[in-house]
């Protein structure tokens, strides 16, 4: 595929990422709406669903906070620096075209850089494997980022201490991350790995899918139940607090286990663009090319 053509597809992927929801997220919200009986909560969930419908129909960003963009990339046969250039150019173009909110501020000068690119932004994660080019676009807003947390536990810590760490973090976050949230927990030997895994757990695995390790899958189910027992609920008005909990882990260090907690707001924005030769495919999404 010609690089200019690929850039157009990446712009389109960013547009779909910001103006529509993945099917798993939308279905999960619809289910929550169907089950809810209380007036305020049903009204809010109804407004959220109506919002998604309006955004998809009119091509408006779902949330005014179009977030910071992260790209998870399996290169296929492409060169890293070429893909990097294409992605950055696509972000610039998408910022004006969709449009996106100018969300990138130069840190030392505090100047708004206007086109959503800057030092290390957008963040690109180069993935292993895959014969085809696969680009996953994730947009994460400031409200849910404000409640991320990290705690270093001793390596001997059990299920109870891990759960306590997660539950305290969720309780502290309360209504701030726009619940119902999708919660990610990362467990690993170091801080950056724990947070990276937590973010991947939230964004790269569809809602409803359990971890392939049985022990971890069981932990996810138990944590989901407990998080919902906190009864933070829809925007803090009770009812369902989390649509799902995903845990991702790496082997830990003999002395420490780091637990990272990352949440997405209800508007989890992710899209997967797969390019095989000239064929382009979008996965798990209500809007197709």
């Amino acid at each position: 595929m010609h690089p200019a053509k690929l850039k157009e597809y990446v712009v389109e992927a960013i547009r779909l990422c910001e103006t529509s929801l993945p099917l798993d997220v939308k279905n999960s919200l619809k289910e929550a709406y169907e089950r809810e009986e209380r007036e305020i909560r049903k009204k809010i969930l109804g407004a959220l669903l109506k919002n998604v419908e309006t955004a998809e129909k009119e091509g408006r960003p779902i949330c005014q906070d179009t977030g910071t963009l992260t790209f998870y990339v399996k290169r296929g046969g492409w060169r890293e620096n070429e893909l990097q250039r294409i992605i950055v150019e696509a972000v610039v173009e998408a910022s004006g075209k969709i449009p996106l909110r100018p969300n990138t501020i130069d840190f030392p000068s505090r100047r708004n850089l206007e086109d959503n690119t800057g030092r290390f932004v957008p963040w690109i994660v180069w993935e292993q494997g895959g014969e085809d080019l696969e680009i996953t676009v994730v947009a994460k807003g400031g409200g849910s980022e404000a409640v991320s947390s990290l705690k270093v536990l001793p390596a001997t810590a059990g299920r109870k201490e891990i759960f306590q760490t997660v539950l305290e973090s969720v309780a502290e976050a309360g209504a701030k991350p726009c619940p119902p949230i999708i919660l990610g927990v990362g467990i690993g030997p170091s801080s950056e790995m724990a947070l990276e895994l937590a973010k991947r757990a939230v964004y790269l695995r569809p809602i409803g899918e359990r971890h392939m390790n049985g022990i971890i899958a069981r932990m996810e189910e138990d944590l989901l139940r407990m998080v919902n027992e906190l009864d933070i609920g829809i925007h803090g008005f009770g009812g369902i607090s989390a649509l799902d909990v995903h845990i991702e882990y790496a082997s830990i260090h003999p002395s420490s286990m780091v637990v990272g907690v990352v949440a997405s707001c209800w508007a989890l924005r992710r899209i997967v663009l797969k390019v095989s030769g000239e064929t382009v495919e979008i996965k798990n999404h209500s809007s197709q090319f």
Partner: protein, 198 residues
């Protein structure tokens, strides 16, 4: 039983006192966006603004805008996390005489005090419902400090039609739904943690 209100700005104190925590509200008339660095600039320059803030609504928001035929239009607009403004909100409500504040996520004790003392309210819009909320914006009346603060933080003076649903979280009597939430979640957390010991 949840009450539902439709009010037009400027909103009087007597109308504010009819709003109870847990009620639903729709607002028509004038609101203005204000957050982070905006509040300070508004306070310093409020006498130079070409309109009065009295009885209007402060909206914690940072919109997406686009220029069409050399005029700005709102593409998406929704509430931002209000708690960041907690330090300045008491003074802001006192000095401006606004009828209420809308945002998301809740405020702290000083804002509860301000609402009681100066008869104001704090309400939340559905977070992230920015495409829907944009539809209730009829027009942009004006924009201030756009160059200085950039699009998200500039003060956007808007005319809205039935902006909502807004859930009243803090009313003029000192009720705070999110204080109830913190208590409830705290109790639930202790119970859940205890259940793991058994």
């Amino acid at each position: 039983m949840t009450g539902e209100h439709k009010l037009e700005t400027p909103i009087g104190k007597e109308e504010v006192t009819r709003l109870k925590a847990g009620d639903i509200l729709y607002i028509s008339g004038e609101v203005f966006t204000s957050r982070d660095r905006t509040q300070k600039l508004i306070l310093e320059n409020r006498n130079r603004l070409p309109f009065s803030l009295h009885g209007l609504i402060e909206f914690h928001a940072g919109p997406i805008v686009r220029k069409k035929d050399s005029k700005w239009e709102i593409v998406s607009i929704g509430p931002t996390t209000s708690f960041r403004m907690e330090n300045n909100e008491y003074g802001f409500i006192r000095e401006t005489g606004i009828a209420g504040v809308i945002g998301k996520g809740g405020m702290g004790n000083r804002t509860v005090e301000a609402c009681r003392e100066f008869k104001a309210f704090y309400g939340v819009l559905p977070g992230g419902a920015a495409a829907l909320i944009a539809k209730s914006v009829k027009r942009i009346i004006g924009v201030y400090w756009l160059e200085e603060l950039g699009v998200p933080e500039a003060m956007w003076h808007l005319e809205v039609n039935e902006l909502g649903p807004i859930t009243i979280v803090i009313d003029a009597f000192g009720n705070d739904l999110y204080e109830d939430l913190r208590r409830r979640v705290g109790e639930n957390l202790s119970r859940v943690l205890k259940s793991m010991e058994e």
